[in-house]
């Protein structure tokens, strides 16, 4: 299958809004995890997060529209605008029937939903905003982005827990490779820093409770790991064929050349401990990219900082890469800002593209003492390295595996 170009990046994250600010913070290894201040979360077992406080400052969305949409749609709109600007694309000049939107998220628009549910129980039926119906559901951002830009081509929302946006990007590549569309806005958005969503994430049991030390709480692959930290934001990229990107003088940031996905079929929440199915997803992605395992020179890790998740991820890499695993630099930079759940894969991909562009791998922070020494972790500080072909891994509850192969143009 064809390699598809990524020609624009839009990022809304706790570590920065916009590509430049985001990269400056990511390469410095600075943590942006802190105590939640949006509401009183002090009674939750985990009350730390990657929270975005200044969204409005970067937004051109009218108050009339803002009152109708959830924060996750707002973030998707801002990230889409950044991505199109970065790509130098004037959407009005595109054939709207040949532009698509492929976005992923895990939980939907809960800030809007829970506010309205509270009103329903207090004020009754008439207390609920009529916009509730169109604000909360997972495909709402896709709809809002399409309305905002007049996009009318084949589009899709993927809901597959933390693998959602990686799957959306993999699917977008497939559609572009079949020449069905000219251009796709692909990625994901998530806004889980709300009372009910945080409660659900806490109930799941995978969150770090090191509330006293927010910046040190998320420690993937470390001996003292005790779970992940949630975060909000959006990562959206512009995807198009290489020929089209060249023809219009676009700047190709990277090529998506392979995609693989499998299911563990083992447990309601946890992955299979043996890593076999994640290994098969990696092998499928490599075969799709016509790439040998020996060619991979960077791996972006999922890194949930939960024993069974981290260990099975290492197992899968052992299966695929064998002894060479010790040579390949790997990192999990989301330790700096938290896990964006359904949007985490898109953010990981964006970091990988920026690392390729700058020949610099951002670090996994808080990885003071690796629980296993079998991987070549980039930790503490960024490391210079020329990446030609990278692997980006995303996984979701219930054993969902999704893997992308990304190449330097």
């Amino acid at each position: 299958m064809d390699k598809i170009a990524i020609s624009g990046i839009g990022v809304v994250s706790p570590s920065g809004i916009g590509k430049r600010q985001f990269w400056a913070n990511i390469k410095s290894g600075r943590s942006f995890v802190k105590k939640i201040t949006r509401f009183d979360a002090s009674k939750y077992p985990s009350h730390i997060a990657g929270q975005i406080d200044e969204l409005e400052k970067y937004s051109t969305i009218s108050p009339r529209l803002l009152k109708k949409i959830d924060a996750f749609s707002h973030m998707a709109l801002i990230a889409s605008e950044f991505a199109l600007q970065d790509a130098g694309i004037d959407i009005k000049k595109e054939n709207p029937n040949l532009v698509g939107i492929f976005l992923g998220n895990a939980i939907g628009g809960w800030l809007y939903a829970e506010t309205e549910l509270r009103d329903m129980y207090i004020e009754g039926r008439e207390g609920v905003s009529p916009y509730m119906a169109s604000a909360w559901f997972p495909a709402a951002p896709q709809g809002q982005v399409s309305i905002y830009y007049g996009i009318k081509g084949f589009s899709k929302t993927v809901v597959a827990d933390r693998a959602s946006s990686t799957m959306a990007i993999g699917y977008a590549r497939k559609i572009l490779a079949k020449d069905k569309l000219n251009l796709i806005l692909a990625g994901g958005m998530e806004a889980p820093v709300t009372p009910y969503a945080l409660l659900c994430c806490n109930t799941y049991g995978g969150l770090s409770t090191d509330n006293a030390h927010p910046q040190e709480a998320y420690r993937p692959f470390d001996k003292r790991r005790n779970g992940f930290v949630i975060a909000e934001g959006a990562g959206i990229v512009v995807m198009e064929s290489v020929e089209r990107a060249f023809a219009r003088g676009g700047n190709i940031l990277g090529l998506v050349s392979g995609y693989g996905t499998t299911c563990d079929g083992a447990d309601r929440i946890n992955p299979a401990a043996d890593g076999q199915e994640l290994a098969r997803a990696i092998k499928t992605a490599l075969a799709d990219a016509k790439t040998e395992a020996e060619e991979i020179d960077f791996i972006s890790l999922d890194g949930l900082a939960v024993d069974i998740w981290d260990n099975s991820e290492i197992e899968s890499l052992r299966i695929v890469f064998g002894d060479r695993l010790k040579e390949i630099p790997v990192s999990c930079p989301k330790s700096m800002f938290g896990n964006l759940l359904g949007a985490s894969g898109a953010i990981d991909l964006i970091i990988t593209l920026l690392a390729m562009e700058h020949n610099l791998i951002p670090p996994t922070i808080n990885l003071d003492e690796p629980a296993q020494n079998s991987l070549n972790y980039v930790r503490k500080q960024a490391q210079e390295h020329k990446i030609k072909k990278a692997l980006a891994i995303s996984r979701g509850r219930g054993g969902i595996n999704a893997v992308l192969v990304v190449e330097k143009p």
């Binding site: 009218s62 009339r64 803002l66 109708k68 905003s129 009529p130 916009y131 169109s134």
Partner: protein, 78 residues
């Protein structure tokens, strides 16, 4: 405040539109491009503020401010 001014105030605050966008004799659809969901919200709010029962068929997106004023005046008078 007269009824018409109150109706405008409610719509401006509720729908986040500018005062100059609302015209007395132009339909809400033509003046501010109101959508059906916004109309649901507007009908509920107007009914609440004026203490009347207002139906979705009595005030629609094709209504002008003058039309809405007439409907509300007649209901208040009863």
């Amino acid at each position: 405040m007269d009824t018409k001014a109150k109706i405008k105030e409610i719509l401006i605050n509720l729908l986040k539109v500018k005062p100059e966008e609302l015209k007395d004799d132009v339909s809400l659809q033509d003046s501010i491009g109101v959508d059906s969901t916004e109309m649901v919200e507007a009908v509920i709010a107007l009914g609440k503020v004026f203490g009347i029962s207002l139906g979705a068929k009595e005030v629609t997106k094709f209504s002008t401010i003058n039309d809405i004023d007439k409907v509300i005046q007649s209901k208040i008078a009863k």
